[in-house]
Symmetry: C5
């Protein structure tokens, strides 16, 4: 979970809704047919571009980013966890790792393979594949949200055009022009909100998040290899150090 | 065929039409001269950019994606099919492959060449050329749809400008302003719909589809080479494995 | 000449003009000062960007694409022509090539050099230079049309702003507002038409055309080298084969 | 600090405010709810994209650029400083460097490590890491400002749509249309100002500034290595010369 | 100087001014506060992005392109000049070159270094540095004009929004709406003119011009090396030939 993403999404919706309810009833901003055009058209355009499976992956990924999870984010914690596992397995063998708490899905999967006795090569190859697949899917998922972010304003405009044409074709009652135009403009508002409050930032977030998570996964693979080879903990730290951005301060290194 | 693409196209059109028929007659959205400007102008701009042949290829490719086909999509199925063909040809020779059902145009073409007795080199070179040509044509086809997606809104705007100028030049009857503006805005609506419901998503779809199909074709070529050499099925599976994204699970690999 | 480009240009203009003359006099779409702002401004912006020579080359290249020419387009025809020339020169020497009809400017130039007795190295180097210069000029020409396609809508908008400001500054007669706005909007229409009916598609066309023509030129150079060396026709065909996209079918190759 | 950036920011705000106060009270341009939509929405969209830490770094970097600092900017001055430090340390050892005034944070940090007796390798590796981290953070910071520059106009438009829809839904009093539309347009103005006066130029500034500063840091590392090795000052100047854009004039080089 | 650039700039301004003075007084297009917002805001946004020095370089470069100069443009003339200098120096030594007229700043600078007796290596290195610095500065200068071309329309829109909001807040006198809107729209016009008549074409021009000039400078350096080595004129021509786009025709080469 990314806390900031969750707050941002909540805050954005809260601000726009409070602005809508200020000075008028918020009900004037609700228009089910208009919402259906924008949502339906956006979904249709996305379905033309992506398969059902790809779209589901994108939705799953957005939940993964928004919902709370225990997965370790800090790379230094991952190094510490690797040292714990390494010391344990050097003393008592791989089987004892099964009872350790490993707060990272990808890491846990790797540890289970170690416990199950797969050879080092099989573990590495299998996890590298998983990492590659993860990156591919995440890139496609970001593409799904980009597509939504492009289609929503377009269908917002299409909805507004439909509304304006209906209004202009039938100008018998001048007093209805204002409310009719208001309704027509609602779809443009819906499209702009879907794109700017949700889809476009989400696409960017997935893109940056997948880069960080992929680095963590590669680092975990390296750590698992060190555990499997029963390396010296100091050597393991050195092997993982290129993955850390902010290395421990100079003092610790040279101490 | 891509099922999701077909559904998306159908859904999008259904949603926009139902929105149009809600609250007014759908007939106010039909304007033949307006449709002619947008369609004609878009076709004209596309003809300047691409030759007849390229445009026809693009249309053919869009039908290929939209219409149902039996072509195998799953890469694992392709591996299984290759194993079937391989075992058969090792037992009874290449000629017996002629009677096998091969649900993939490209694969079928390769098998026929094998049956007809062409040398391995000739088959490989010929299919590689076909693959290259396929990728080139598909890229150009995606370009045709991109061009349509860019030209349609532009000619929608040109149509609206023409309509507005005609209306503004002759304001004798104020009550006709509304309907005249409605008609003028129709071309903008047509342009936005052509671009966002059809052309732009189609261009993206072709681009991603050609990448997947090209990988399948390269995999089929590799499989045909394995058949032609009468390789061991296990070895064939290993040769094809880099083309599979989600490899069989670790359990199967090490079993 | 590209037939499709010519038709597209003609069709686009015909459609827009027929739309203009429908329901009103086409004369309301003619405004000489407005046309002068858009054309003049576009020319001015292009002159700032490109030298006279570059602009003239661009115009020449657009005529080259639009006007009929006898230049061979089909690469297979070029191979056949090369074979004819090769057989002839092997029998009767290079001088006899002078009387052959060679329907391609670039090829004719090369043949004349062969007839004039230049050495193979000089011919190759000279034609390679010509090819490089051709590609450079064509890229610049496409840039000229891109610049026109970007400047025309901008000056269309500038013209409309000038017209609107003049109209708004002097609102004494309300009945003149409509026609004045119509005139002001004309420049936007002119700009959109110049960009979308002509300049932008032309820039794209030149870019794709130069790629194809450059491949043909490189192929002709290879062919001329084969002629100059008096190679075996079969060998010549093999040397040229990488330049052909759709190679002769497998049957012919192995026959 | 970049003096020109500070002046530019001040000048831009002054000009827009003076334009606002000309001919009317500036109070009509103040609308707290409108400002809240634009600021809040922009912050929300940025929080979805970036974590708190990244946003804080971006704010810190903008202050670093805007506020006055003593950090040496001129690369020639850095060379001169390096020569001073080099001569001093060759005469009296590294410890004496502690009392030297070093007007550059990064340089000062390196000198302190030298004084503290770290080995040359540790210093180089540690400073290289710091430089890499600096570049990464600055690139992310520029991305934060780009995100703000994209979100602000979008939420300006959303605010204007909300305002217009509220106004159009309730047209009972025609005399209130003007002021209500003015208020609705304020958010568009806020969004355009935030993007064009602050966020977009700042993103560009950070991008160019980080490039220059990174070169200076690499140069300082090279200089520290020369000091640590007790090199000849002339040799040191030669080692640093590739980092100088405008080298000392030819006369000095050959004198 | 680029003649076409100068004419284009003059022509564009003349056309727009004549369009403004047609049918109304040109005075309605003059609004000093509006001009100040657009110019001031654009300058402010550019100052945030670039330092004073960079902006001054950009202005200098635009004058260099617009004002007449004697600098040789034709590469063949440069070769001829090099041959003259070469023959002279081979006969009478380098000192006599001092009295030769060399119509190219960069070339003159190199010749003076030759006369002053600098070694070949020093001359080459110094001129290469100068060339690199020239390219860097020109790229930055083009960036300054791009920044102006992006900021001017944005501040034009900001000015128009300010004007519209002032007008809408105070609708007491309906007859003043037209002129007030005209004034508000002036800033949009100013912004569009600055961007499309001046800044954007200038940025493009500098980018293409710097490429050509840099090739000439590299060619001059090569020529100076040939002079300094007292090479044979024919050999010098061969050394410089790769820099010429349109080489002397085949006839001359083989004559």
């Amino acid at each position: 979970m990314s806390f900031s993403t969750f707050i941002g999404l909540f805050l954005g919706i809260a601000i726009v809704i409070s602005a809508m309810s200020m000075g008028s009833s918020i009900l004037i901003f609700v228009n089910i047919p208009g919402l259906m055009i924008v949502l339906g058209g956006t979904i249709a355009a996305t379905m033309i571009r992506y398969s059902f499976k790809e779209t589901l992956h994108a939705i799953g990924m957005s939940f993964h980013i928004l919902l709370p999870s225990n997965d370790i984010k800090d790379k230094n914690e991952l190094v510490d966890l690797t040292e714990d596992l390494l010391r344990l397995s050097r003393k008592d063998g791989f089987l004892v790792l099964d009872k350790q708490e490993v707060n990272h899905d990808f890491y846990r999967h790797g540890v289970r393979m170690l416990v199950d006795g797969y050879s080092q090569d099989v573990i590495k190859q299998s996890l590298m594949e998983e990492n590659k697949l993860f990156v591919e899917r995440a890139t496609t998922s970001a593409g799904v949200f980009s597509s939504i972010g492009g289609a929503a304003p377009a269908f917002g405009m299409i909805g507004t055009l439909v509304g304006l044409i209906q209004m202009l074709s039938n100008l018998s009652d001048p007093s209805s022009i204002g409310p009719a135009m208001a309704v027509a403009m609602l779809t443009t508002l819906y499209g702009a909100m879907i794109a700017n409050l949700f889809a476009l930032p989400m696409a960017d977030k997935i893109n940056t998040w997948v880069q960080e998570e992929s680095v963590r996964q590669l680092m975990i693979i390296e750590g698992l290899m060190a555990i499997s080879e029963g390396r010296n903990p100091g050597m393991m730290r050195e092997l993982l150090s290129p993955y850390l951005e902010n290395k421990p301060s100079v003092e610790e290194v040279t101490a």
